[in-house]
């Protein structure tokens, strides 16, 4: 198992390298630069700025410099937030995004699994139809609709919760964003669980358990172990996406996460910020894909890694 993990981590390096390379040259291809303002800077000032950030060097030299920095764990300075490095920006924003995403993930998993199991057990009955209908709605309605609606209903009309803001992570401020983030994931988890559960409940080993007269709870426990596999493989990329923040939710609720960095960085031509975000997201995706495979091995005895 350990050698497997080590091998997977090693094989992630070339992937990461290709991603970094493509992104680096792609963002440099975009017209405009980080210091293009509405009022053009004086030529001398521009010259100095470019020299300061080493933008006057040929592109391949800049690329090598960036790679060297990356290998030493240095993501470089931000071109837009002049006083901060990319590492500092992430140190501030990543915990916020991870906390929101983590809570949303737990909520989605808990509610989604329960709803999916209930729907599967009561297949083609009222409870099932309700779950399927709500899940379809959850998947279809985009977050940029649910977020403002929740703001109005819970923030303004009922006035239970604040409309937005982070407020140092007060629980009251995290409820709405977490709910908005969790809803679509919850819906997908419920649908996947339901479909897999229906399939598993018909399997031979479950029939054997029934024949042995085991309690319904034990049977569900056994069936769930098999049914949870598609959920796990969905959860890998989903967790990576949730933990690295959502542009929409962070913009609407005014939260200081890293979700907005992508769009902001691309628009401001903050090269290092975009690159940093790409690297962070890619790392999350690679790690979570690895975790999924490990979880598979633990859950499904047929899967073995040498």
């Amino acid at each position: 198992m350990l050698t497997y993990i080590a091998r997977r981590l090693l094989s992630a390096i070339p992937t990461l390298f290709v991603i970094v390379t493509i992104s680096f040259f792609l963002i440099r291809l975009a017209p405009g630069g980080p210091f293009d303002l509405e009022q053009p800077l004086e030529a001398a000032v521009m010259e100095n700025l470019k020299r300061l950030y080493k933008l006057d060097e040929p592109l391949h030299m800049q690329y090598l410099t960036y790679l060297k920095g990356l290998l030493q764990g240095d993501l470089g300075p931000s071109f837009y937030y002049r006083d901060l490095t990319i590492a500092q920006l992430f140190a501030k924003g990543l915990p916020v995004s991870m906390r929101l995403g983590g809570l949303a993930l737990l909520l989605a998993l808990a509610v989604g699994l329960v709803c999916g199991v209930v729907a599967a057990l009561k297949q083609n009955r009222a409870a099932d139809y309700t779950v399927v209908a709500i899940a379809t709605a959850g998947i279809t309605i985009p977050t940029f609709v649910t977020a403002p609606v929740f703001q109005v209903v819970f923030g303004l009309w009922l006035a239970w919760l604040p409309v937005g803001g982070w407020n140092d992570g007060a629980i009251r401020n995290t409820v709405l964003p977490v709910l908005v983030l969790a809803l679509p994931q919850m819906a997908v988890v419920a649908r996947l669980t339901r479909a897999a559960m229906i399939e598993t409940l018909r399997a031979n080993h479950i029939r054997t358990l029934r024949a042995q007269g085991l309690s319904e709870f034990t049977i569900i426990k056994h069936a769930l172990r098999g049914a949870v596999l598609p959920v796990v493989s969905y959860l890998g990329p989903a967790a990576a996406a949730l933990l690295t923040g959502s542009v929409v939710v962070e913009t609407i609720f005014g939260l200081p996460g890293i979700g907005r960095y992508f769009v902001e960085g691309a628009l401001n031509r903050d090269y290092t910020l975009v690159m940093g975000t790409v690297v962070v997201i890619a790392c999350f995706v690679l790690v979570f894909n690895l975790l999924v495979d490990i979880a598979y091995a633990l859950l499904d005895p047929r899967v073995r890694y040498a």
């Binding site: 992937t15 290709v18 991603i19 309605i141 609709v145 542009v247 929409v248 992508f262 997201i281």
Partner: protein, 373 residues
């Protein structure tokens, strides 16, 4: 004899597509969704011609009018509007009489009134061109007939005073067109790429699929945002670009199908008969993968519409005065405190369309792939 006539012609075979159509017709959700989608499409295409408003016409007098059946101007809006215009004419309005669609007013001024300035009436959104009925005191007192132009804003107006019904329908046009266009491009590239990769197999397949893997690993949003930065202001190019990103799944599906089709006897027979590669791909491979392709495409359209809305929400999509559901929803979300209707109507249209497309996609999947049920 009549009994015989009703017996179906058993010799006429039913193709797999006929079978699928029958199964699709039995799926109530899918049938209703097709009707709903057709309705939304018809409304979006023809609706803007009958609403009586241009989608980019700004009614400065009617900003943020709430959604209602009410006629505007309302009775208490007319007199103040006349007073405002009279002020610009440097005259005092007297004896304002309002009949059904006509207002009569006497304008009195210390100096003769320049009748050309009566154009101010026509320039406002409330009145038509004014006509002078009587002149008195050497032109210092005019009796003027002003037609009132009544308008309805069923969905209200936005903060600029543009009719939201028309804008929602125009937005529907844009969103649907984008969805179809981008999904079409994506499917086109995906089918050809996947079919070629699966058909030739071997090293070509390896290389082509490795390329797909690498693009997969790139954060998708990054890709799209970079494309927006490049093509930002060009509406069509932008969605060709989105389509060009969305083909990866399609390529994988088609490749898998092609790999198994490749081994079938009819493909080998075609090869033995000396049909060239392009011919085999076109006549035998691609028609046989169309089932999953159709399903995938119906599910891709809502994905693209959602993506477009998401981009427009971030301000990276369609540019003003043109609009899309995403733009309108973003606008509504910003104004939600005072003007809920600005979010409600575009959101209802968007969500209904997405629902319908998803149900149709699911229905098609069940219809075309009976073993998957």
């Amino acid at each position: 004899m009549t009994v015989l006539a009703t017996v179906p012609d058993v010799t006429a075979g039913r193709s797999l597509w006929d079978d699928a159509l029958i199964r699709l017709r039995r799926n109530k959700a899918a049938v209703v969704s097709i009707a709903v989608l057709a309705l939304v499409t018809l409304l979006s295409v023809f609706g803007p011609y009958v609403t009586g408003h241009a989608f980019d016409k700004v009614y400065t007098e009617y900003t943020r009018v709430p959604a209602s059946l009410q006629l505007y101007p309302s009775a208490d809006q007319i007199a103040p509007a006349i007073e405002r215009i009279a002020l610009r004419l440097r005259a005092k309005p007297e004896n304002i009489v309002i009949r059904d669609d006509m207002a009569q007013v006497e304008l009195a001024a210390p100096r003769a009134i320049d009748e050309r300035a009566l154009a101010f009436f026509d320039r406002s959104d409330i009145f038509g061109p004014a006509g002078v009925v009587a002149r008195a005191e050497e032109g210092r007192r005019l009796t003027v007939d002003v037609p009132i132009e009544y308008r309805r804003f069923l969905f209200g107006t936005d903060s600029n005073g543009r009719d939201l019904l028309t804008r929602t329908l125009i937005a529907g046009r844009v969103s649907l067109a984008i969805g179809l266009l981008a999904a079409g491009v994506g499917v086109f590239i995906g089918v050809i790429y996947g079919a070629v990769s699966g058909y030739f197999g071997g090293r070509i397949d390896d290389i082509m699929m490795r390329i797909v893997d690498v693009i997969y690993a790139l954060p998708f949003i990054f890709f799209v945002i970079m494309l927006m930065v490049f093509f930002g202001r060009n509406f069509v190019l932008m969605f060709v670009a989105v389509g060009a990103v969305e083909w990866l799944d399609m390529a994988r599906i088609v490749r898998g199908q092609t790999l198994s089709l490749r081994q079938q006897e009819f493909v080998q027979a075609a090869e033995a008969l000396g049909v060239d590669h392009v011919g085999i791909l076109r006549r035998h491979i691609i028609p046989n993968v169309l089932g999953p392709v159709v399903v995938y495409m119906t599910l891709l359209v809502p994905k693209v519409i959602l993506l477009e809305s998401f981009l427009s929400f971030l301000g990276l999509g369609v540019q003003e005065p043109l609009t899309s559901w995403g733009v309108l929803i973003a606008d509504g979300a910003r104004n939600i405190q005072g003007a809920t209707y600005m979010l409600t109507f575009p959101a209802i249209f968007l969500v209904t369309t997405l629902f319908a497309l998803n149900f149709i996609g699911d229905g098609l999947r069940d219809a075309l792939d009976p073993k998957d049920r």
